[in-house]
Symmetry: C2
Subunit: 302 residues, 2 copies
């Protein structure tokens, strides 16, 4: 696959300036060989999103696609898969679509400020990913014995885990605001969000529905508080396989059904898409599955 | 500018697996609406570098260039400048060079593990950047009155600051190891490093000198402990303007001179390049200066 781009680069969207004063200075080992008086006071730009964009030379007359990662992940999850295949970023570019890849607030290149958000950041273990992303039963982690038909490349589990980053569970409102800023900057975009990214994407879309061509949510962990604000936004709820494996997923499945009903009740349009229908073994990381290109083909409007 | 790429994507290099056990589980607010039992135990891949690479279709027969950011920065510093011009990443691709952009350990998409490194992470304020990157006198920060001839786009200081990320001052050895892994994976590369990135780059190059075509260091804050290991690596020490503005920079200037002498004494080759010679106003962020394209033209071997 080759890529002809008329432009690519990055920008920041959203955020605010925090002013710190009255804190004591302290001397730190600044580098291996120099000491330095560190002053924690001053002005700090915080809570912006980092966005890396790619514009194909043969760009179809379609709104850009914006990709929003899930919890404990960054925009890198849409690039090269853990087993080295092109990611959805590449496949979307190949279709002539302009793509904007977000590192939302506190993730990856967006940066974070120590002490800014309440609570402690948490980092996902391989065991948690194994269970929560439905690769296999917890007791089969050690042997890396995956669920039957599993499409996720479990042999590359550790490579996948090198992409995990810590997350705060209290930065949600800042993530919504930054993602809203991304949408407003783009004016009109198709959103593809994953898992915890759904929380920011739905809420931001509810605040700027005119900026959203379509909202495609892969197994979102949350929604907008007021579904009626999304009545004008075509929504796709896509899901994978093994959703009866534990209470977490049974609970989320029920919430997707309830939210779809609420959206329809508010006059909205929602398509529920079972990616495992005809393609068993779709994991929570559909964009990394062996069938990832086929999964993308199933998504409407791209 | 347009870009024809035969490939692009990302990979991880280096790192190790940390096993945590015996820590208590705790229930956390996992998302805005779901609680979740977080288990801090398990296996965590840590201390790898994230590398995003771009291969131009019309690739010259030259080793790839690997770009290593400075302290409190990520690989994004080589992309679009704060005032929206193409970065060195773009300019190098335009020359037909393959480019690998590193987020080293604990920065950006490389991720970090809470509690893994001793000490507290520090985040740079705009005031510190103003002073330390030699944009102007500290007392002129409020008015944004820059040094005469200043080439850094100080009107975009806040946009620049949105790219700052926290850093630990104790992660140096891990950064050396990860960057060495990047070099060994590439086999042979031209390294361009900046500021604190110089510490990791010189030390990694000393461990894998056969993998380094040339080491171009922009105002590095540190060097290899054993310069004699770099005797076979052509080194360029590039510097900007205003280096007599404070003791930090006077000290570093003296260290560059001393290291160059030590390298020469060990039989090495080192070129000292004053970017401000003929182009006054070069800041610490030469790759973002208004004259950034000219500065790049001054670097040999690219």
């Amino acid at each position: 696959m080759s890529y002809s781009l008329s432009d690519f680069g990055s920008y920041r969207a959203g955020g605010r300036l925090v002013e710190v004063s009255g804190e004591p200075c302290r001397e730190i080992a600044f580098t291996a060989s120099t000491r330095y008086p560190y002053d924690p006071n001053g002005a700090f730009p915080v809570e912006s999103a980092y966005v890396q964009y790619f514009v194909p030379s043969r760009r179809r007359d379609r709104p850009p696609v914006v990709l929003l990662h899930g919890g404990g992940m960054t925009g890198a999850m849409w690039e090269t898969t853990p087993d080295g295949r092109p990611g959805w970023l590449h496949l979307l570019l190949d279709r002539g679509l302009e793509v904007h890849v977000v590192d939302n607030v506190e993730r990856g290149r967006a940066g974070w400020k120590p002490g800014l958000w309440p609570g402690e950041p948490i980092l996902r273990s391989l065991q948690e990913a194994w269970r929560l992303f439905r690769f296999g039963r917890p007791e089969d982690f050690a042997a890396r014995r995956a669920f039957p038909n599993q499409q996720f490349p479990v042999a590359r589990l550790e490579d996948f885990g090198r992409g995990f980053v810590p997350r705060w569970t209290s930065s949600g409102p800042a993530q919504v605001a930054a993602f809203e800023a991304v949408l407003r900057r783009l004016g009109r975009a198709t959103v593809i969000c994953h898992s915890q990214g759904g929380e920011a994407a739905f809420e931001a879309a509810a605040r700027a529905p005119e900026a959203v061509e379509r909202l495609i949510a892969l197994e979102p962990s949350g929604f907008a508080e007021r579904p009626e604000l999304l009545a004008g936004v075509p929504v796709v709820l896509a899901r994978g396989d093994y959703l009866d494996c534990d209470a977490t997923w049974r609970g989320l499945t029920a919430r997707w059904r309830d939210f779809a009903a609420a959206l329809r009740g508010a006059g909205g349009s929602v398509a529920e898409l079972d990616l495992a229908d005809g393609s068993p073994g779709v994991s929570h990381m559909a964009m990394m599955d062996r069938g990832s290109a086929d999964h993308l083909d199933r998504l409407p409007g791209l």
